[in-house]
């Protein structure tokens, strides 16, 4: 099972002094019918805790396809970030539709939690967010998405 939304807000200090994880409404677990579980197929966790692989860039054509893909489910449509011509979004998917999104779907995995945990670690060690987020722990500009997408072995060195 993957929690999918490991953030500081979701770690609660209980009265017995233990730290407990809460808020499982973004969690992924295997369905009994063996259906594959994709990232973003239900409630989208806060975008500030997502790993680079959860983001994608959309070209103009893809953007149109993106709009069509989410047309009838406007409320569930993932956030998009745009700057100087480039548009970014998360690789969320819709359930129960035959058409495919204009990006590769991403299987949900524990890597999501691992990345998020790393972000917490960084914050606790430095007192700063590795990537700047708003108060709801969401990424708020395309620049930040570019930073995340640009993360590689050399980053931070």
């Amino acid at each position: 099972m993957v929690h999918g939304d490991v953030t500081l807000r979701n770690i609660i200090k209980m009265s017995n002094g233990k730290y407990s994880i809460s808020d499982f409404d973004s969690s992924y677990y295997k369905l009994t019918n063996g259906q594959r579980t994709y990232f973003g197929q239900h409630k989208i966790s806060s975008s500030g805790c997502l790993p680079p692989s959860a983001f994608t860039i959309l070209n103009e054509e893809e953007e149109k396809a993106f709009e069509i893909y989410w047309k009838s489910r406007a409320t569930d449509k993932p956030t998009t970030w745009s700057s100087s011509g480039a548009t970014y979004t998360t690789r969320s998917v819709r359930r129960g539709v035959k058409i495919r999104p204009p990006y590769t779907r991403m299987k949900a995995s524990k890597s999501l939690d691992v990345w998020a945990f790393g972000l917490i670690l960084y914050y606790m060690a430095t007192g700063k967010h590795l990537f700047s987020v708003d108060k709801d722990n969401n990424v708020c500009s395309a620049d930040v998405v570019e930073q995340i997408l640009g993360w590689d072995d050399n980053a931070g060195m």
């Binding site: 099972m1 807000r9 979701n10 809460s22 409404d25 677990y29 691992v114 980053a155």
Partner: protein
């Protein structure tokens, strides 16, 4: 001459005597009787008085002479009304018309006298009612009071020998006499019932004549007129045994008259018992008679508070001494609920008195009415040891509440009192002395939908059942009232609100394993209300993956509810959220539960880590502790989910293997912090 008239001399002899001494007819003997007086008083006479003798003895002077008792010959003629001819009477009147107004030593006019002993008859009455002077002032005999302030009408009523026609004639002659009172403040209507012998034979027609009055004077007000002893006509009527139709008429005219106590503090109903034996002898229908008198009383609080001159005989006691119709008991108890706690002179409470009526229960319908009456009385005084554990009484209370709430959705006044009592009764000295079982029986026998109706009932101070219930019943309510009733919501804004969920703080009222209210302080919880059923499903199902032993580092769900579910809790949630009162604190925060279709209840933590960290409460050790525990928990999730994922994303900073070694992590954190 005196001897002659007294001893029956013939008219020739009398004429002879008069001729020899004409003035002898005006001579008065030592009793002040003129010969005419002597003749009219003649007791030895057989047959009727001779008109010719009268005419011989009569002169205007004679007609103005009075005897020792100040009576004119007209007075005496009226006394002899049975044996005098109308013609003779007319002659006497015409000889001195002023004698119509003459007063004897009691101040009575001939008209007064006419109503003594025997019925006067209309013919004589008409003569006596003439105007003394043909024209001029209207001063008639009907307007003259005797020394006791009684007008002829009063006098006639008191002596009770007149029929309604005669009374009507008197009223017509002096309409105001209908409301005139004598020196004791009594109206003619009082007078009708003053004498025991007269009162019994008063006819409806007579009363009608008095009530009807004449012209501007309406007799109806006299029904409520008090004499100097503060007694109304009805008091005398009841006391002196007037016919029940007559009393019925008085009550019908002024129902309040049955509710007014006399100077001794007796209501008319109390006065029945001064002649109780007679009623029973009557063999008529004493119950109807009683009901007639007590029905107006039952509607008056003041009257229901009147205990009678003998003391401690409240209307409720009287009612309980008989098996009357239900509405009387209901009304008395409604007018003066406290009467159920009053003891009679034998020290018995109404409910105890009523037990004597068991013998009057003849059939099933009687039995059910008998029980209903008992319940009505009991409701107003539940503190009688003898009855408060009476099984059949309790059974009847239960079925009454059940049927009222099921059929009408509301409880009657009595049932509300009983329901409040059942829920709130608590004996501090005996923890088993309460009605939890009875309340449970009611809960279990009614429709779930009605549950809220029963709980929304308020006592007479406006407190809800939840507030007044004894602790055991409260627990019982919690058990039945599963969701909302279990929590006390915090009157502060929600902890968190997003577009599809709201998290509010609340306290869980503690229940132990037996479902009883525990003495511990209520447990703080958070309740997350969700719009999306998918979120709800994930919250619940994901946690079901690990049981308690697996990890402590998860905020566990204590309860969960969904409007789309069919578990017992879900069904309760459905019912509970319809209770506006309970949801008030939520509604106040703009949380409409018809949109938030599901909720989970979790233990409330002290704070989240972001807050704790940002408020500099975090030490190095805390950081390590926190990360270790979170890491451990995540590991447990990842290992125990039903889903075996492939590590699809190549995370570039922290590898899974690194993450797995929590000890390394600890060292790493320490290094970073230094």
């Amino acid at each position: 001459m005196h001897h002659a008239v007294k001893n029956g001399a013939s008219k020739d002899i009398i004429r002879c005597l008069i001729e020899s001494s004409p003035e002898s007819i005006t001579v008065q003997d030592n009793h002040m009787n003129a010969p005419l007086h002597a003749y009219l008083k003649n007791e030895k006479l057989e047959g009727s008085l001779s008109s010719s003798i009268i005419s011989m003895l009569l002169s205007p002077t004679v007609a103005s002479l009075v005897d020792r008792k100040n009576r004119t010959s007209l007075h005496l003629a009226v006394i002899a009304k049975k044996i005098i001819r109308l013609k003779a009477l007319r002659m006497i009147i015409d000889a001195n018309r002023n004698s119509l107004l003459a007063k004897d030593s009691h101040g009575r006019t001939p008209l007064h006298i006419a109503f003594l002993e025997e019925s006067v008859g209309m013919d004589i009455l008409k003569l006596l009612l003439q105007d003394p002077i043909q024209s001029g002032i209207h001063h008639r005999a009907a307007m003259v009071e005797d020394n006791l302030g009684k007008l002829p009408l009063q006098f006639a009523c008191e002596n009770g020998i007149s029929n309604e026609q005669e009374l009507s004639a008197l009223i017509e002659a002096h309409p105001m006499s209908i409301i005139a009172t004598d020196s004791k403040g009594r109206s003619p209507l009082h007078a009708l019932f003053i004498n025991k012998k007269v009162a019994k034979s008063v006819s409806v027609a007579t009363v009608l004549a008095l009530l009807a009055g004449h012209g501007d004077f309406d007799g109806q007000c006299t029904v409520k007129m008090e004499d100097e002893y503060s007694s109304l006509p009805i008091h005398y009527a009841v006391k002196n045994g007037a016919a029940s139709e007559v009393i019925a008429m008085l009550i019908e005219t002024q129902p309040e008259s049955a509710c007014i106590p006399n100077g001794d503090g007796d209501l008319p109903i109390h006065l029945i018992f001064s002649r109780r034996n007679e009623i029973i002898e009557d063999g008529g229908e004493p119950l109807d008679f009683l009901q007639m008198l007590i029905r107006p009383v039952s509607l008056s609080r003041e009257a229901c508070k009147t205990s009678g001159s003998a003391g401690s005989m409240y209307p409720i006691h009287i009612a309980c001494n008989y098996f009357l119709s239900l509405d009387i008991y209901e009304n008395i108890l409604r007018s003066y609920p406290k009467c159920a706690k009053m003891k009679n002179s034998e020290g018995l409470l109404p409910l105890e008195v009523f037990q004597s009526q068991k013998s009057n229960v003849k059939n099933e319908s009687d039995a059910s009415i008998f029980m209903t009456i008992q319940v009505e009385i009991f409701a107003r005084n539940t503190n009688i040891d003898q009855f408060k554990r009476n099984d059949s009484l309790l059974e009847s209370i239960v079925s009454r509440i059940q049927s009222e709430i099921s059929n009408d959705g509301v409880l009657s006044e009595t049932s509300i009192i009983l329901w409040v009592w059942l829920c709130s009764y608590d004996n501090p000295d005996d923890e088993n002395d309460n009605y939890t079982d009875t309340v449970d029986e009611i809960f279990n026998s009614i429709d779930r939908d009605l549950f809220n109706d029963l709980l929304s009932i308020k006592d007479d101070h406006g407190s809800s059942i939840n507030d007044i219930a004894c602790s055991k019943v409260k627990t019982l309510i919690q058990k039945h009232y599963y969701f909302v009733g279990k929590f006390i919501f915090e009157p502060v804004p929600p902890i968190h609100r997003s577009h599809d969920n709201v998290i509010v703080g609340a306290f869980l009222i503690n229940l132990n394993d037996n479902g009883e209210l525990s003495s511990e302080i209520s447990k703080p919880v958070v309740i997350k209300f969700m719009m999306k059923s998918d979120s709800y499903r994930r919250e619940v199902e994901s946690r079901s993956v690990f049981d308690d032993n697996l990890t402590d580092n998860v905020v566990h769900i204590l309860f969960h509810f969904s409007l789309d579910g069919n578990r017992v809790d879900d069904i309760r949630f459905k019912n509970d959220i319809q209770d506006e009162k309970l949801l008030e604190p939520l509604v106040a925060q703009g949380i409409d539960l018809q949109y938030y279709r599901s909720a989970i209840v979790m233990e409330r933590g002290m704070c989240d880590v972001e807050d704790e960290f940002n408020h500099s409460l975090f030490t190095k050790a805390d950081t390590v502790k926190c990360l270790k525990q979170v890491g451990k928990a995540l590991l447990t999730f990842h290992d125990h989910g039903q889903c075996k994922f492939h590590c699809f994303i190549h995370t570039k900073v922290i590898t899974y293997s690194f993450f797995k070694s929590v000890y390394l992590l600890q060292i790493w954190s320490m290094v970073m912090l230094h």
